[in-house]
Symmetry: C2
Subunit: 617 residues, 2 copies
């Protein structure tokens, strides 16, 4: 009943197999010069004519016969028997062999007097100085740089043969709807071939996306046949697993050969490599991050076999902030956030859910854990592969701790200054512990102590020797979110959605439950955890829960009733030693900006009277 | 009579002035998602709906109520009172809160039996797991990476507001013809705005090239006015010097203000910075490499003020192979070839002629010599800024010495293997000396000794202790090139074009003159030097000289008569210690390839009987 993978091979073996099985001849794409930047020449390019074709003046001045200038000096000026006025770029008439700058010439009554002799060919651009007719301008497989477009124009090249790989992208799945259509329950926006097109065309391929194909073997067969006919390579999106509606392997086997079903990568295992009419046909897994991994690790490197130039990611050696356990056998690719704390590069693995496309939006690096590795321990030095320019990673501001939607707005304020705020949601206590390990720049927290104070008690307890600055973001209203306007006293007996352990909101809930004499046992769903305010509000909105505790802005964003419970102090803790770090200073400026106060007011539920004030612990 | 520059300021001051004078608000460009990769968001982007909007199965299996699975084990299987068959991605019906993988389920008569309990929300993708409605997907000024196109599609974003800078490019000059038209004597192909468009659009600008404008102030004025009206910034190509036909500064002054005329850079000094209606108007110098330098060093960095992201070049510390003297006062930018000899990065400055666009095609790096520097001595360590990916520079094969057109064909054979052959033409002796200093990989030479042998005598003399391998490229015919079929005996009294001192061809000439008893004094033009075979042939073709000595292929390329004088041995010398360097090995393979022999035969004038043989010295 359960189909098995035919054969699971390693990623390295998959590359060897692709190189062995396919001849990989690129297609030739003729492009006009103005669209040639970034493309790769199909053959050598030769100069159509010499540049310049004839001797030109390299200065404004007069063309002279150098032998007639001999002996001229300040003491013995020479009146030239003949000369011709020339500007820079003018043709030097054939009888002359040098140019004298106009500043060194005295003219009177049509005669030119000079006080210095000219050497032969002085200030003359000789014919062919730049390039001679028939010379090679650039070889085959040269990637044309933007500035070279000018040189090519000069040499008379207006149309170029460049190489490409024509890739047919076939999206399959009865559940698919196109981007722009809001998916009904059970429908999915087709994004994998959209992403594949962007990634492969960035590397120089020419992609055609074919219409969606329903999950029916006959239809899939027709679509793949057409795509193979019209392209150098075909990628079939999804249907590559071993489920009941996964027909891709069967169809490829019917039209040609399935060489591989399953590559030992994580994510991305359910990949198919097939051959139809000598052309590679790749079955892409359906989960977006699996598809991303297979495109980046299998398909893009394979394009090099056709002559396309795919840049290698820059590798940075960094300390890993948390454990990354792994079983032996698969190459594993983990999206990460990378930044510099002081002088140390630190890298944090993100969650591994293959359906969470935002992980790839938030990540600025990834780690490849080799198949024979058992993973990493915290503090190990690992290779982080950059997904952004080095400068961007150097300017990453790592914010780890309690989540609030305003962090995204701070990111929006900071980005134009070149700083990328990367927020990791681990709750207030998680942030404090990250600060203790010195692996983030800033830790947002709202930890309520038994004495009713915020944050200071915990910082003194967990970071006793370390001077800390606490920057107030805002006084923040927490309250009950529900569909029916429930209040805190209504919670017993109601399906609840809680926050994760260590989050300030959960501690607030426990504090208020205790104060009100309500036992957690009376609240069904107390153990069900979401990791952000908006996730709590969404659980309520979707009907999964009847109530939860969150900030006002989250309830407002989803247009849900909100009954206030308490105002808390939402602060960002930084190590005082990093207070002068330019990223941290920019963060403080952003918090203190008028624009940020306007945003807090617009979002609602924030008291801005102490926004931007700093306490030291 | 000679106009002076109004005010020459440093490059740093020019940048400060640009930042101070202009507010630099970008334009908004709305683009469809499929063209958004590489563009920068104009504002934050929010999710239109949650993803997923409802709980979905994360596995193929059955949806269950987790509390009803309690106690199930191998010993105590549980028959579930209710369950629903779901595939990955299906909606989990609201009554259920967990999914059990199909592999762990036994079905019989419509009943499902399990042997393991399910935790709440196991294998369920909760609503909003990826992103919740109203959450920020990406902030302002985020550069959209190709892989993010997929996530944006999923989140319902099909049209994006991105930022750009509209740049109007105004080419001026009565001598201009468009690319594709062969320029008549005195005409020039307009390439500067073509290049500017490619470079600026690569950085995210949106450029409009305006029609060519004759050198008449009124016409230039009308063109600039229109361009200022329609763009955020205007670049006027040429007319920025202080010559008689340089009207750009005068026109800008009439329409607005000339802030700067002259920036202390080399090349690129005659640049104008003006302001018209609050918009920057840049007067670009006419020489292509001057224009390139100003675009790269002044205009591209200025685009950052508008929010565009212009990557900084990668900097490599390298030893400089030759002196780079410089006067204090200007920032000087020198195109270079960079490569790795063994483990050492070595960088060689190229010739400085601002009209030689091929320099920018051949260069893979450049050096900025700061304005207060007096330049560098050979062996100094300098910052080389890369114009190619690091991998390309690491795979550069530096070939320094005697020039032959076949070196370009070797480059063409090597490029698909990822190796960039960079050839520097310094003549045979120059190559031998470069090999002595160990700052090139390979030195082509054809040095004729008094005993009639080639190369070995000189290598023993100049590199006495160093084991050398000599790879034979070909036996090569040298002969007299002329328009009238002149022979060697005809040379006395004829206008001659010679090769530079230290070149093998010049030594061959001297050897043959001596043998024939002809004195160099009888040959007019003996002191006139060209640096390549093709340059010699071109001087003959253009009428500058009546005869020269060159290889057959050069004469043939320009369709000129050729009378053989002698066959010489054209070899490439390498240090034996580098014989196993992969670049050197690839070079030897290329020389020995069938394809190369075919090329030698096609070009003509080469004897391939010893091609690829190796002698050791």
């Amino acid at each position: 009943m359960v189909k098995r993978y035919l054969q699971v091979i390693s990623l390295d073996d998959a590359h060897s197999l692709l190189s062995r099985e396919f001849s990989c001849t690129p297609s030739v794409l003729q492009v006009p010069l103005e669209r040639a930047a970034g493309r790769i020449t199909a053959g050598p390019i030769f100069a159509r004519y010499s540049v310049p074709e004839i001797h030109l003046a390299a200065m404004d001045g007069i063309a002279v016969v150098s032998s007639e200038t001999k002996g001229a000096s300040e003491q013995h000026p020479v009146i030239l028997p003949r000369a011709a006025r020339v500007n820079t770029g003018n043709v030097v008439p054939q009888e002359f062999d040098a140019v004298i700058m106009i500043e060194d010439v005295w003219e009177s009554g049509g005669n030119y007097t000079i006080r210095k002799a000219a050497g032969p060919w002085q200030h003359v651009r000789p014919a062919g100085e730049d390039l001679a007719e028939s010379e090679m301008v650039m070889p085959s497989r040269h990637r044309i740089r933007p500035h070279e477009i000018g040189a090519l124009a000069t040499y008379g090249i207006t149309l170029l043969d460049t190489i490409t790989v024509r890739v047919g992208l076939v999206p399959t799945g009865s559940e698919l709807v196109p981007a722009g259509t809001r998916p009904a329950p059970g429908q999915v926006v087709e994004s994998n071939t959209v992403m594949a097109k962007a990634m492969l065309e960035d590397a120089g391929a020419a992609c055609t996306r074919y219409p969606f194909v329903e999950d029916q073997p006959d239809l899939i067969r027709d679509a793949i046949k057409a795509a193979v006919r019209e392209n150098d390579m075909v990628i079939v999106s999804a249907g590559s697993s071993a489920g009941t509606k996964d027909f891709t392997a069967e169809v490829i086997a019917g039209l040609g050969t399935v060489l591989v079903h399953g590559v030992a990568t994580k994510p991305g295992k359910p990949v198919i490599i097939g051959s139809i009419e000598g052309k590679p046909v790749i079955g892409l897994p359906g989960y977006p991050l699996s598809a991303l991994t297979i495109i980046r690790e299998l398909v893009l490197p394979f394009l090099k076999n056709y002559g396309l130039q795919v840049p290698e990611p820059v590798v940075i050696r960094a300390g890993i902030t948390s454990a990354l356990p792994k079983e032996i056998g698969s190459d594993e690719f983990v999206l990460c956030t990378l930044g510099k704390i002081g002088d140390r590069w630190m890298v944090s693995p993100q969650s591994k859910g293959a359906g969470v496309q935002m992980s790839a939006v938030r990540a600025n690096a990834y780690i490849r854990v080799p198949r024979n590795s058992e993973g990493y321990n915290p503090g190990d030095t690992v290779d982080a592969r950059l997904m952004v320019p080095v400068q961007d990673a150097e300017n990453a501001l790592l914010v780890t701790g309690s989540h609030d939607p305003v962090l995204d707005y701070l990111a929006d304020i900071l980005r134009p200054a070149g700083i990328t705020l990367i927020s990791t949601h681990v709750g207030s206590m998680g942030g404090i512990l990250s600060l203790k390990k010195d692996d983030c720049h800033a830790a947002p927290a709202h930890l309520l102590a038994d004495d009713g104070s915020y944050n200071t008690v915990f910082l003194k307890k967990y970071l006793p020797q370390i001077p800390i600055d606490l920057i107030c973001v805002a006084g923040r209203q927490q309250g009950v979110v529900s569909r029916d306007g429930l209040s805190f006293a209504d919670l017993p007996g109601r399906a609840f959605i809680n926050r994760q352990k260590g989050s300030g909101t959960r501690m607030l809930l426990d504090y208020e439950l205790k104060r009100a004499g309500i036992s957690p046992d009376t609240i069904p769903g107390y153990e069900r955890e979401a990791t952000t305010h908006i996730a709590v509000a969404l659980a309520v909105k979707s009907g999964e829960a009847e109530a939860g505790l969150c900030v006002y802005s989250a309830a407002k964003a989803l247009r849900l009733p909100f009954v206030p419970v308490s105002q808390e102090r939402y602060e960002i803790a930084i190590r005082h030693e990093h207070a002068e770090d330019p990223r941290v200073r920019a963060l403080i400026s952003a918090i203190r900006s008028e624009r940020f106060k306007e945003i807090l007011t617009m979002l609602g539920g924030y008291d801005t009277s102490e926004t931007g004030t700093i306490r030291t612990v």
